[in-house]
Amino acid sequence: MEAAASGGCGSGPPLLLSEGEQQCYSELFARCAGAAGGGPGSGPPEAARAAPGAATAASGPVADLFRASQLPAETLHQITELCGAKRVGYFGPTQFYVALKLIAAAQSGLPVRIESIKCELPLPRFMMSKTDAEIRFGNMAELHGTKVQIPYLITEKNTFKRMDDEDKQQETQSPTMSPLASPPSSPPHYQRIPLSHGYSKLRSSTEQMHPAPYEARQPLVQPEGPSLGGPGAKPLRHQASLIRSFSVERELQDNNSSYPDEPWRITEEQREYYVNQFRSLQPDPSSFISGSVAKNFFTKSKLSIPELSYIWELSDADCDGALSLPEFCAAFHLIVARKNGYPLPEGLPPTLQPEYLQAAFPKPKWECALFDSYSESMPANQQPRDLNRMEKLSVKDMADFPVPTQDVTGDDKQALKSATDEALPKDMSEDSATPKDSNSLKARPRSRSYSSTSIEETMKRGEDPPTPPPRPQKTHSRASSLDLNKVFQPSVPASKSGLLPPPPALPPRPCPSQSEQASEAELHPQLNRAPSQAAESSPTKKDIPYSQPPSKPIRRKFRPENQATENQEPATAVGGPASVATVKPHPTVQKQSSKQKKAIQTAIRKNKEANAVLARLNSELQQQLKEVHQERIALENQLEQLRPVTVL
């Protein structure tokens, strides 16, 4: 390596590295190279990222490393130039080693010159953690905290020894740490940490870069704690560029990571930060960040696409392709954790789940806004939804999802965050039922099944809210079904009043017995589908019907039909007693009729509103369907043009 380094140094002086130096540098280099994102350009694949040489040094693990050396900024710049990184544009092994050597020289007080590295120098010292700590809190205490945390993160490196050293010094943690192996096992360590800021996440890759020097520096680190003068300037600069530089944001989050418990817990500061970031992407905290926006944002973190994809999978609980605020916080937190070296969990940790996040960090204005936004959209759908409570589809959907969540076992589907468009009617119904928790599970299957069926079924489902039951519709529209009801109602005197209180879901059975009574004559015409005339005759009688379920035209329709069928049979038989019965209830019916009239009128109004909403929805869906059809036709044409030989 030395020969190679010296050979590749080119115009630089030959690097003579001692054994210890060589080992240390190679480890550091490996760490930098292995760090997610930039860092020293270890090869062509990395070259693209490391291409902006200066930028890499500034924001990558190399920069962190250099900053941790606690040298003033100008010195670092000088070093960067001297080592050739600026010249070649990336931190290759040669440049990196030269840089490290120069750092050691600078730390030893030698001027930063190429000549300096020719002599024997101690290993460069890095106080990475401190730097990050400084950025965030600037406390002395942080130093201790960071040290404690550092071993936590570096699982793959043998940090145990280091941890022991730290423990001896810190006495704040138990020496047994199996950090990355199982982040949840960190709690014991975290609990020990008396700091207000838990560095559950290791500072990015910088931690990983110093296994060797760190050990050697352990005793030195603490005494050098206060010497944050150099890094101090940098943290300020970084803070200024926080919003822009994702890596810096990441570091910020690292420090703010959950301390009292697992690494997956979001602290207040982190939450604030995430929320601010959310706002920068999407001004309304209660709405969603679209997938593409989030993708661009998270791609800045320089994690690999599969990892980002997995993080998205974990955090987008309802799989709607958009991130709400809690989802966004969870995703951000996971990214920060990953950048710090934590392996991604198999499932979304309970502390990152949306309900938990919303409960743990109640931001009244946002939560309320969240609910408000849903409640706003709900009233419009409320009625149609009520109408469609008995949607068979929803029942079927729920039945289809006995095991809805396999991806993230702990994931609760956030009903609040359920999809907007297609799943609107169904999700809204779930929202109204229970804002959170279990119903979200049903909401999700609902949306899924909605999307998974053919367009026809989709449209049918879309139509269901608008047009309650297609089934009962034998010939008449809803309006005429109402008429039918009117027809039936008059024939149902007192007994009908008894029906009023019961829920609209009442089977028509009790009704027919009453409906049979007087309106047999009308029933028959109704059965013959001449409702208009019958309807006219019926209103003269009692208007009991609508008081019941004006909001349930479905059942209404069933009723008439059932009543019709039943009436046909026992019509003759019950005719006699029915007429008698009608006479008696008459007076009572009259008293009730006025009440019922009002009830019916309100019901009619509600129905009309529901009708309007549903009609609008229907027309919109139809338009969408047409557009989709047109697109499809266009695409098919294109396909045919492009592939004339295709069988299809």
Partner: protein, 141 residues
């Protein structure tokens, strides 16, 4: 119990194919490949007029001499095909069960699609999808 699950893209290349590892996987790959022709045939036969009229679930693709292994097909509106080879030796799986399995597949596939980091046409590497398929494979073992 599904022995092999495959997701084929519109251009007839596999997005995801997974079989029970104990078997000879190549055989399943071959079966899936031959099923593609049948699927295409069914799609075109069902009428190019309107996708609406076409059922997504294609059912048993074609009868084979091997009664144990059956192939079922399912096509989405975007011409993404799901082919499933089912081992019906121990349990005679009913049509409904197969349909529900396909529905689950479709839902998981939609979830994968919703991920903005997933480019349509890439191989599916979602762990959630894997988990779901695994559950289907060892369902009735």
């Amino acid at each position: 119990m599904a022995v092999c699950v495959a997701v084929i893209a519109k251009e007839n290349y596999p997005l995801y194919i997974r079989s029970v590892p104990t078997e000879n996987e190549l055989k399943f790959h071959y079966m899936v490949h031959t099923s593609l022709d049948v699927v295409d045939e069914k799609i075109s036969a069902m009428g190019k007029a309107l996708v609406d009229q076409r059922e997504l679930y294609l059912g048993l693709l074609y009868p084979t001499e091997d009664y144990k292994l059956r192939r079922y097909g399912y096509v989405t509106n975007s011409k993404v095909k799901f082919v499933m080879v089912v081992d019906s030796s121990n349990t005679a799986l009913r049509d409904n069960e197969i349909r529900s399995m396909f529905r689950k597949l479709h839902n998981s596939y939609t979830d994968v699609m919703c991920n903005p980091f997933y480019n349509p046409g890439d191989r599916i590497q979602s762990r959630a999808f894997d988990g779901m398929v695994t559950s289907m494979m060892i369902q009735v073992c």
